[in-house]
Amino acid sequence: MNGVVRRLALTVVGVAISTVMVFVLLRVLPGDIATSRLGVSATPAALEQLRSEYGFSRPLVVQYFDWILDALRGDLGRSLVSGDDIGGEIVNRLRVTIPLIIFSSTIAVLTAVIVGRRAALRRKRATGLVAVSLAQVGLAIPTFVIGIVLILVFAVQLRVLPAGGFPTAGWSTPIDAGRSLVLPVITLALAQMAILVRFARSHALDFVASDAFRTARAAGRTSDAALATASRLVLSPVLSVTALQLSTLLTGAVVVESVFALPGLGSMLVRDIANRDVTKVQSTLLVLVVGIFIIRLIVEFVNDRLDPRRLA
């Protein structure tokens, strides 16, 4: 139980530090926010009105705590550009982003474990080498290029899947919605898989070199069966790396949603960044940061169950 309390405390500290970082980068570094929004030619009266409307003239410390306390009550503030409520739009857009992230991560983790095990058993044969070098190249190619290549193959050449977009009716037309998520999910899965395969392979190789594996082989099990018993030993580090790579996964989601024109949180973030909608970017990043820390926490607890030695 002590571990639970310690982890929760670490999570709260982590969220606090990250929000301060976001606030400093977005609000302190750029200088006067009203001028950067309205331009240098804006009248002093217009500048003053914007400042008082959003409370920008108050001390930064007060603004920071107002932002955090409002967020804790569920109020993420209003957009600097449209004046609309930020929280409502974020919830809407998560309907696309959450399925995208969950499906792609699941596919990436499972494939990494399977391919990594194969590659470890066949490390001196062609298939093992091919898997590793594919992962190497996959690690290098930018996510949006992978997405565009998939569009060229499956939407342009084979014409089996849409090149982008999302049905306006959303999930009430589940088949269309699902079809438009297939290519984005595969793209994001490939982007994550590259690094996960390397980890899965190296941990599977460790197990293949261990006494436990030799004993299982000596007792008459096939290599595959012996390695299958160790699946959780391979899965656990892969999950840890997935959790560490979450911010990379989120930037991947930002890119993928833009490539496939999906109405998710990531494409919204890109548009708001282009519009310099500072209040909205700030609150969107807050949601992402909290999400990252919660998923990390869940992964930690799952890993304790998968590999109880961690608790000892």
Binding site: L29, A140, F144, V156, R276
Partner: protein, 269 residues
């Protein structure tokens, strides 16, 4: 010495890109920005080797001019990263405990934050520009170079030849000057290629998202973004910039792997 496939391929790909970029400084088949509304969406021909785009601009000329933007950004970001990383790494290794700890914890924070995400946040605050991308990637990659360099520099400072130099009266600064850089050379070269490939990915991704190179600067990322809406009818227009970005990144990565195999004797198995 063992012939390395990744080294040869990496040198080949990176070398050809450098040649194209240098050639593009003095000559492109057409001015990259020259619009010709009579010649929109032309297929590849002898007049336009890679065809023309939605505004009738010559695709080959834009590919060559785009190489300049991407490679210049990569070179500058790598230079910044090398200067920051080498300076902080050596300083941390040669300093007292508290300064060492302070530099390293700062660097670790930046290492944990992906360069692309950092660039997104800074673009939100400062507006899109290639300079922002170069600086952000330079700082982020510099932090990870600092972490590796600190470890290697500490090893060098504890090696017998440095102890010998110390006993014969050399100051710390003289040791750093004469022994440090040439012994760090191998590791820094490999890390420079890593920084370069991060920079290429970040520059092209941000330009693709409309948050990097601003019009009219020719850029592979922007070419991809502006031609993607025609992908169903004119897929070739999208293919060229996608191909070139991949060649640039894979080239830098393979060059790094190849250099690592050549320069690091412990990996030669």
């Amino acid at each position: 010495m063992r012939r390395s496939l990744s080294f040869t391929t990496g040198v080949g790909l990176t070398g050809s890109l450098l040649v194209i970029t240098l050639a593009g400084l003095v000559w492109t088949p057409y001015p990259p920005l020259q619009i010709d509304t009579q010649a929109r969406f032309e297929s590849p021909s002898f007049a336009h080797l890679l065809g023309t785009d939605q505004l009738g601009r010559d695709v080959l000329s834009n590919i060559i001019a785009g190489a300049r933007t991407t490679l210049l950004a990569a070179l500058l970001a790598t230079a910044i990263a090398l200067v920051i990383g080498t300076f902080l790494g050596i300083t941390a290794a040669a300093s007292r405990r508290w300064l060492d700890d302070a530099i390293m914890s700062l660097a670790t924070v930046f290492v944990a934050f992906p360069a692309l995400l950092l660039a997104l946040v800074i673009v939100a605050a400062r507006g899109p520009s290639t300079a922002t991308v170069v600086l952000t990637v330079g700082i982020a990659a510099g932090a990870s170079i600092a972490v590796v360099t600190r470890r290697e520099a500490a090893d060098i400072l504890h090696s017998p030849f440095v102890t010998a130099a110390r006993y014969s009266g050399s100051s710390t600064w003289a040791i750093v000057r004469t022994h440090m850089l040439r012994n760090l050379f191998a590791s820094l070269t490999v890390q420079a290629t890593g920084a370069a490939s991060i920079a290429i990915v970040a520059e092209s991704t941000l330009s693709y998202l409309g948050l990097g190179a601003t019009p009219p600067t020719p850029s592979w990322g922007r070419m991809l973004a502006s031609t993607q809406q025609y992908v169903l009818v004119h897929p070739l227009l999208v293919l060229w910039p996608a191909l070139l970005i991949s060649v640039a990144v894979v080239g830098a990565t393979l060059l790094g792997d190849g250099l690592r195999e050549r320069l690091d004797p412990t990996l030669a198995t």
